[in-house]
Subunit: 310 residues, 3 copies
């Protein structure tokens, strides 16, 4: 009941109990997301997707989530084709299209755009990524994948590997895991270390955090190896990017000493960070993670649009 009509701009908008509620709803959505059951829970509902930056898989998974529950989507996915081109403010655009459907999913290149949109719209706004800002549904998917594997989020040892400076997904994930007392291990090139601000938040949430620059050592004790892409577009300086690009690569040899139950996650798309030869390994869980985008968004949409979890 708590989530009905609510905005989701940052994962921090959700309490621990609300995160648990979304994960529970997501599990109930599995048969619908697989097509083995036909859903009608969102019949009559219309979701407006406003994507001012391309993000194919996020868009498709929201649209599929609506379709699998009998709802409808209307979509802007060509930013150059919008009224913004005619000089309209984001406020006006969202104020208008926010009235059409029952909720808005916003993807935008600028940090803070989702908060602004939430102010402009009478209907709930779900942030699907705003620049270097937040992407809370990705975090919910990450949590759902870990929970599906281990049955819990507690007592696990999660290694965050890669760009921990610019990578918004790891900031959000770390904050969310801190709610559940998960142990975090940070493995990053020195220039891409987790920012002080995020570290402080984790500390004040009582998170168990340690740094382990040696990837081989980190892998040995990991339950989850969360790999990120180093995103060229987040770097102001091309030289800084060149120094760290390709500084790590997950391959079968690296995973040899890992625990049997250890899983490798990645928000995708990957470029070279995980070798395709890992795909056949039982450790590879990133395609399952991508699939869970559908049931997690189904669970979330169901809670926000109807207040019900199934």
């Amino acid at each position: 009941m708590g989530l009905k009509g609510r905005d989701l701009v940052s994962i921090r908008d959700l309490s621990r109990e609300e995160v648990v509620e979304v994960l529970k709803a997501s599990r109930r959505m599995l048969p619908y997301s697989e097509g083995s059951k036909i859903g009608h829970q969102l019949e009559g509902k219309v979701l407006t997707l406003a994507f001012f930056e391309p993000s194919t898989r996020t868009r498709l998974s929201f649209e599929t989530a609506m379709a699998r529950l009998g709802g409808r989507s209307v979509t802007i996915s060509d930013p150059s084709a919008s009224s913004l081109r005619k000089g309209e403010t984001l406020y006006d655009t969202i104020r208008v299209i926010g009235q059409y459907g029952d909720a808005v999913v916003l993807r935008h290149p600028n940090e803070g755009a989702a908060r602004l949109a939430a102010q402009a719209s009478d209907r709930p706004v779900i942030n699907a990524g705003d620049g270097a800002g937040q992407h809370p549904t990705q975090t919910l998917i990450d949590l759902a994948t870990i929970e599906e594997k281990f049955g819990t989020l507690q007592g696990l040892n999660v290694v965050l590997l890669g760009d921990l400076k610019y990578g918004r997904t790891v900031h959000s994930l770390a904050r969310a895991l801190a709610l559940f007392g998960t142990s975090l291990v940070l493995t990053a090139p020195p220039t891409l270390a987790m920012p002080e601000e995020v570290r402080k938040d984790l500390d004040s949430a009582g998170a168990k955090v340690q740094e382990e620059p040696e990837l081989e050592r980190a892998v040995k004790n990991a339950d989850v190896l969360y790999v990120t892409r180093i995103q060229r577009e987040r770097f102001g300086d091309e030289a800084e990017f060149a120094k760290v690009a390709g500084s790590y690569r997950v391959d079968p040899a690296l995973l040899e000493p890992a625990k049997e139950r250890m899983i490798v996650l990645h928000p995708l798309p990957r470029t070279g960070e995980i070798s395709p030869s890992v795909d056949a390994s039982p450790h590879a869980a990133y395609f399952r993670q991508a699939f869970l985008g559908v049931p997690v968004r189904m669970g979330l949409l169901s809670l926000i649009l109807t207040g019900k979890a199934a």
Copy 2:
């Protein structure tokens, strides 16, 4: 019954009685457009949207209108991606895709495109704007907003402000209001005066028309202040545009002496013509007007596709 299977290329294709019928159907659609009732009236119907020019809000409101009534849309919104690129004529494109769904909504940069499309298609064609030509559903929305506020279209004093030369929405609106005996006041920069041809049509329709170049004076007696954007893209000459851009701006001070019930309308997007500080005023009706795009298009589609008004 009268509108079933009909094209809508120009607002002049509709008699006064037919306009009244559409407005009545639109009012009945309100609970469905707000999501408080689930509609099934257009179940099984497919609307083809062929947008050869971007117009995000028009497209979304048509798609939402179909979705809210249980119908489906298939959409072209990337003009460069079309068969036209391979050298196909508009006639061939519409002749083919006009067979797929139950009606076609066309948006096109060239005046006259909608009439041509109506000839090519066996199924009804609805003009959603063809260059400097017609945009009849915008006019129906304008009328619906005025009628919702005042309960009538008669005995009102409507000020048309801004670009009355190139602004197709004001030409269509003026012609439609003439059917209802509304008093029109024209307030425009001298170089953007209403064209003689439109003035003559209004005169022969018996419309009460006067010019009032002083905006302050026009506002005092207005029931409706209809503000338009000066569209750079309609000007051949950049110098002519520069002279008139920014020549008027509606702000709270201007509205001070207005009648209490007076409403400000604007087809949106606005650029600088209406200050955002007007948004909170009880006079501001342009966001409501934008919302009514959905129920008005629902009413129209219902009449054209099924002949029924609810």
Copy 3:
């Protein structure tokens, strides 16, 4: 039952019996495709359209096919907006989005892309054109149009006119007609003759094939005149294109000596190959052929997604 869950990459993936089954299913779909019956056969099904190359009419006809049977589509139609831009492989993209819906329709500029996608996806993949490769649903539509007119595919005399070298539609059509013992007449500019490889396949399938460079002579005995567009984009060499562009044109005078029942087909879009003055002729069947894209794709999707033919 044979087609349920199957990929369709090339028309050669289908046996003669399976082609007959699809054509039969397509005929049963006619009332649904015309909107005279409301279909629910694909309720709860989601089709993912991944168009990495624009093809408006193919995309719209698949989407309409789903809509007319109560199913849903989610669509990528802006290739530049995809994860591929971020350096993702086609394998990864299809592996991920192939999990969302119940089947994938792929359009891609590169030959072989559909076979690769079929390997990446757990769910069925339907090839909607991969570069110079295959486009099997176009062939099924061609066959359906001929069968609708003549009640059979056997004992007919089919003239293939135009670019028989690069034109993938005529290669596939020729191979399919060979299964039914149709007589083929090849009419092409010398530099655009049917490739040896295709000729050999036709010979080993026991097809009756002859060459007739004189178009007038070919028309006299034709039951079907299948006209193709010479596609500039398939030519490496602009000079080679210029030599053959405009080398034939179908007009009413050419059709004068044709059999009364003879039909002219064209996969569209046409540029100058068929004069618009042919449109009104009883021989013109290319717009009907374009329309049949909807029921044929309905029949195929129904068989692949549910195993049922109506």
